[in-house]
Subunit: 470 residues, 2 copies
């Protein structure tokens, strides 16, 4: 191993091969559920360095775990406990290589922080719409590796939909120069989308060309109380019809989820509408003007009230109020944590089936665990719920987690499968859900995935054991 | 072979295995450039029948050429001349299986005509935006197999971007039930996008779940004269900024292309603006109202005139006028044909590089072939030009094609490559561009494509020789 480490030092410089001291920033996952042990953390600065690192690791039969901001939620970017894996950190590859205004594109290195993309785009007069809670520390390489979702998917799609091209170091240490500002290119198989969402198991994304959008003239936020989750779905349909592509956010939040925010963060003044089971946060982006956006929004809410799918609503008066409303939505996970550990899910079903899914699954859980509490919220516009399960009031959260996690997961995922849904809507598979994927994914699909993995990474050295069992 | 044909008759019924008489509807490609000879044309009605057909063909070592409307432009859906390939026609699988209004999706079989999708969507109150010249006879399976583009890509993307899930019969005759109405699903490799655009070389798409959009309240069309192609790109930027997602079409047409329409179809009253080298057709779709759309459009054109990137413009007064303008644009290929055979290209480069690409390539061709005439038009909003090359005035078109095609292709494709572009933007590779792909695509990408083909279709029986050399 000393020989390998020396060779790595030759490539990236001695200070960028870390093998001693506290490496927990790279070895411990974001949710602090698994701590691995790396042979070393290697921090290349260029694509050529990444390629050279891969080549000598492949020669030595040493596997690589690519890592961006290490903010993933499924244990996909930390090493296993063997002490024989290299963590390949892309953090030093953080340049914005180019912004092409007329082409509406931006080429960035994999280690670029998501927020840097947003800010660089804004400076150039454009919007880069990908937005999620970890945006201050996650990297675009990780976003692409996991096909991150977030809050703007209803209009702009997932990370996949925002990417036009990739630069990738293959499992053989070759460089695929697939960066492209092309919106149309039908010259063979879609390698780009194969690497996006492959969680570093097929190769290493080193750079990407991403789409930019014109900066909207105004972004307004509204908060609406709805009498049921069925009516939330009706409201979504109205919003699509009346706001068109202006609808850039549509989040649903259950009353219990909101009450946790109100209880643990009383300074936030949560608009609770206590008599309604759900609230919806809507965002309307307008290329024309703020007054036009407001007029459109008010018209929508008026129609929705007439049709009975909204009982009360408010449109934020200014940016500060808008931030406040988004802040409430984003505080739900933190409020949950204050209330104690809980069992998290990141599931999706077709939007039309959300109400029935929630009714059926709520009931199954209530029957199975009397008094269980459901922290239900998420991106309803995309059919994506963070359908989280909390111990009964007064119960011990740690005990609940230990005793009930497998049981609750089984109930929720079986229900998801019955409704034609996904057990991982936006977080990916990582190491956390490998076993569950085997249970819930079609064997034909798994067979094709294995064949592709074998074809592109025959030695199984690229993030082994993630997505597919090693 | 008799045994195989009998077995096929057992599966799909004797009347749906055609092996005698005039089979040119299936054996001759749309552009009439290649006529193949099929062992038989097999027309299954169900996915199970497709799977059974594939299974016995695989057993017999007989290859399959899947075919939809047979409107492809690159010889991808007709058999070779061996008389040993089965044409698998999906035309009888033409059901609209379901429309899910709340989920904004539509599930259709592969043989559904594109226009049927558009009409079924409209009947349900929605828009299915994929639109292209062959929409009256092409099928959605073929659209997905070739990742078709068309005129609405600037807003809605290619066929790929409109698809949420697929049902596929694999090269082993298994059925992958990948139909999905999910907008977020991160459970492993993106098999959907791998099959889309693979031109039937990895398996056979039998059904798809497609996205629907709210029907716009109004669609307006404008025609603008621009003083140069550089200014057309400037106009595109202004249109993105001022119309936002309302910009659903942006086509550019060179003066010579338009003059051919005027000459060969004088009844069309082409708005020529003879003193300008290019005209642009813009479409603005509005979810609010026609008057709002018109106001937005007029504001844009006013600004564009002030900035000097438009010299003259007209907004269609009514739907009939709008159709008339689109008709002029769509008549360019027909007018070219009237003028005589020409050398066609379907290329893309980044939008920002279009003006320089056109200048450089025009000059190269003019130097190489004095008097050569360029029929330049296309989807500028996507950086996609149909950069076609016509014989010098008075020259014999057939001779020109015979003598100059290879030379002209080499000049154009080398130039495309220098500008980081694609030699097939929206038509695919088929058999026509297999050799050219080998020359212009990165060897690393080709290597990965071959590995994937080998992994999923190890016997090379799925549309062999298309995309990749057999």
């Amino acid at each position: 191993m000393k020989k390998l480490l020396d060779a790595l030092r030759q490539i990236v410089g001695a200070t960028h091969v870390l093998s001693e001291g506290d490496l927990s920033a790279w070895e411990l996952d974001w949710r602090k559920r698994s701590r691995g042990k790396a042979l070393a953390v290697v921090r290349p600065r260029t694509t050529a360095e990444v390629a050279a690192v891969v080549k000598i690791c492949v020669e030595a039969g040493i596997s690589l775990v690519p890592q961006g901001g290490n903010t993933g939620l499924v244990g996909g970017s930390t090493p296993d406990e063997s002490g024989r894996q290299i963590v390949l950190s892309l953090q030093r590859m953080n340049a914005v290589r180019a912004i092409d205004a007329a082409n509406l594109t931006m080429t960035v290195e994999a280690g670029c922080i998501l927020q840097t993309l947003q800010e660089s785009a804004e400076k150039a007069g454009f919007l880069f719409p990908l937005s999620l809670a970890a945006e201050g520390s996650c990297t675009i390489g990780g976003n692409l590796g996991s096909n991150a979702g977030g809050t703007q998917v209803v209009r702009y799609g997932n990370a996949r939909d925002l990417c036009l091209g990739l630069e990738v170091v293959t499992a053989q240490g070759e460089v695929w120069e697939g960066l492209s500002g092309l919106r149309k290119d039908n010259t063979g198989y879609d390698l780009r989308d194969l690497f996006i969402g492959s969680e570093g198991t097929l190769g290493i994304i080193t750079a990407a060309t991403m789409k930019l959008y014109p900066m909207p003239a105004a972004q307004l936020t509204a908060w609406a109380a709805v009498p049921s989750i069925d009516e939330a779905v009706t409201l979504l349909g109205l919003a699509h019809r009346h706001l068109g592509a202006g609808l850039t956010g549509f989040e649903v939040m259950g009353q219990f989820a909101l009450s946790l925010v109100a209880q643990h963060f009383p300074q936030q003044r949560v608009p609770l509408y206590l008599d309604t089971p759900y609230c919806v946060l809507l965002e309307n982006s307008d290329h024309e003007s703020e007054s036009h956006a407001r007029e459109q929004f008010e018209r929508l809410l008026e129609i929705a009230m007439e049709e009975g799918c909204v009982t009360d609503a408010v449109v934020a008066e200014n940016l500060q109020q808008a931030h406040q409303l988004w802040h409430v939505r984003e505080s739900i996970p933190l409020a949950q944590a204050e209330e104690g550990l809980n069992i998290k899910h990141d599931i999706s079903v077709p939007v039309s089936l959300i109400p029935e899914f929630v009714r059926v699954t709520d009931q199954l859980l209530a029957n199975n665990i009397p008094g269980v509490r459901l922290v239900n919220f998420g991106h309803l516009g995309d059919g994506n719920l963070h359908y989280n399960v909390q111990a009964p009031a007064g119960g011990d959260a740690a005990t609940f987690l230990r005793e009930q996690e497998e049981n609750v997961n089984a109930i929720v995922y079986d229900s998801v499968q019955k409704f034609g849904g996904s057990i991982s809507a936006e977080h990916g598979v990582g190491s956390l859900k490998v076993g569950k994927l085997e249970k819930h994914k079609s064997p034909v699909a798994l067979g094709m995935m294995r064949a592709i993995k074998q074809a592109l990474d025959p030695q199984n050295l690229m993030n082994p054991g993630r997505v597919l069992r090693a």
